[in-house]
């Protein structure tokens, strides 16, 4: 057979592409449920990491951690327009929502509880654009709903070693104790500063964290979407604060 004729070359190229694509399609479809379950577990683990229930290098088994999540974390749907818990809407309903307006309005908040059942921390999902990708994370607030208890970023496509460092636990650890409200009670969020913060300036110490070097756009993106998402939840958070102060 003349294997260098144009017809043969074309035929061979098409043939090999079809065979390999079929192989990939079958594998992807076959593994999809397992992958989704693994991603969901990773999400739950990150909620617990933000809330301080588990450490990043926790050695416990997946079943044990899944049980911990069921026992200690409760997920609620919040109607961000009214600032109250949306009665009759389940987390699954929110997952199935298609329209962007609905998705913005109804958001899921996770409440982690101490062993005796009292709320320990409020975990809000945060997400938004970095440089290359949408970054997903969780921001956990202390019981006072003002101070940050922890933060994690678990899904992103930023450059490894630069913007990808947003998932570095050492960097995330700085967020702990920052205040999302200023002295007047106005929402400021947490600001990722370009360069290192100066702890001698009270405003920087209270609201800012060190920038990620080499990733200004990722850092700015994080600052922006953390504030936007907190703003969306603010009505709900403020109502909880007044309840607590009563």
């Amino acid at each position: 057979m003349n294997t260098s004729s144009n017809g043969y070359v074309m035929g061979f190229a098409i043939g090999i592409c079809v065979v390999i694509s079929a192989m990939l399609a079958v594998t992807a479809n076959f593994l999809k449920p397992t992958q989704d379950a693994a991603a969901e577990f990773d999400r739950q683990k990150n909620v617990m990491m933000a809330a301080g229930l588990v450490a990043a290098d926790d050695q416990r088994s997946r079943t044990a951690l899944e049980k911990l999540y069921r026992d200690r974390v409760e997920e609620l749907v919040v109607d961000t327009e009214t600032g109250s818990v949306a009665a009759g809407k389940t987390v699954a309903d929110v997952g199935a929502m298609k329209s962007p307006a609905d998705k913005r309005r109804y958001r899921v908040v996770a409440i982690s509880k101490a062993a005796d059942g009292a709320p320990e921390s409020y975990v809000v999902p945060i997400s938004g654009k970095g440089l290359w990708s949408t970054i997903y994370g969780y921001l956990a607030l202390e019981r006072d709903l003002v101070h940050v208890r922890g933060v994690t970023f678990y899904k992103h496509g930023e450059t490894p070693g630069l913007g990808g460092e947003c998932e570095n636990p050492v960097w995330c650890a700085q967020w702990k104790g920052k205040s999302i409200l200023d002295e007047q009670g106005k929402l400021v969020g947490v600001i990722v500063k370009k360069t290192k913060i100066d702890p001698s300036i009270p405003a920087e110490k209270a609201h800012k964290v060190d920038g990620l070097s080499g990733s200004t756009i990722t850092s700015n993106g994080i600052t922006r979407f953390v504030k936007a998402d907190l703003t969306a939840f603010e009505k709900y958070l403020a109502s909880l604060r007044t309840q607590q102060n009563k």
Binding site: T3, S4, T27, Q35, A38, D42
Partner: protein, 222 residues
């Protein structure tokens, strides 16, 4: 009749499953012709994924499987591949195999797949894989190519494992995620070596390993 006088063709010794050629295919890349230490291929990934031993091992297993599998595939269709487009055909096969491996990692080792991030995908561009296809699988039968792939993958893996082991122990005081440097040592003033966690540390280690390996194996610059 002249045909009667023609000698029967010399009996070709039917090669066993592990003849001299086969042993050579698998043993050579482990030491004498090591892809990293001797050919200095695949350096990029050996710097990037060796901060921890488990990452290094999974990456090593990945490269071994990919090299072996794509060697077999290419070798079995080598007579049909048009010479004009052989490189791109190799690339298609390698990419396919790598993506399948990546999908399995995502399903069953989600944490590790997140940490290996882009480097699993980058196995596609690892020169070891393409190098073996072009240099070996295009000329040799599938079984021997398979062994050659396994050999090269393992040759890559053991160097990665050594680098990963040293970096994890000295860089973070752990081994496979378990603390191995006792707390008492930290109390006595010992600190982890920060250089080991960063890429330059891996570069220096790799240089030393290449040097030691070449000193022992008697490499001569041609």
């Amino acid at each position: 009749m002249t045909t009667a006088t023609i000698n029967p063709p010399p009996a070709v010794a039917k090669p066993g499953l592990f003849g001299a050629e086969e042993i050579k295919a698998i043993k050579d890349p482990l030491w004498d012709n090591n892809p990293i230490a001797f050919q200095v291929l695949g350096i990029c990934s050996s710097l990037a994924v060796t901060t921890r031993l488990d990452k290094a091992l999974v990456m090593g297993i990945g490269v071994t499987l990919v090299t072996a599998l794509s060697n077999v595939l290419i070798s079995s269709i080598r007579t049909f591949i048009p010479n004009k487009i052989r490189i791109i055909v190799q690339l298609v096969v390698v990419s396919g195999v790598v993506i399948v491996f990546d999908q399995f990692l995502r399903a069953y080792m989600f944490d590790l797949s997140k940490q290996l991030s882009v480097f699993v995908g980058l196995i596609i561009t690892n020169c070891i894989v393409m190098g073996r296809l072009e240099a070996y699988a295009m000329q040799n039968p599938p079984w021997r190519s398979f062994l050659d792939g396994i050999g090269n993958g393992l040759g890559y893996m053991w160097i990665l494992a050594v680098v990963g082991l040293i970096r994890e122990v000295f860089g973070s005081g752990k081994l496979l995620g378990m603390q191995v440097v006792p707390q008492a040592l930290y109390d006595a003033g010992y600190v982890n070596n920060g250089l080991m966690v960063l890429a330059p540390g891996a570069f220096i280690l790799l240089g030393i390993i290449v040097w030691v390996q070449r000193a022992i194996s008697g490499y001569v610059e041609k």
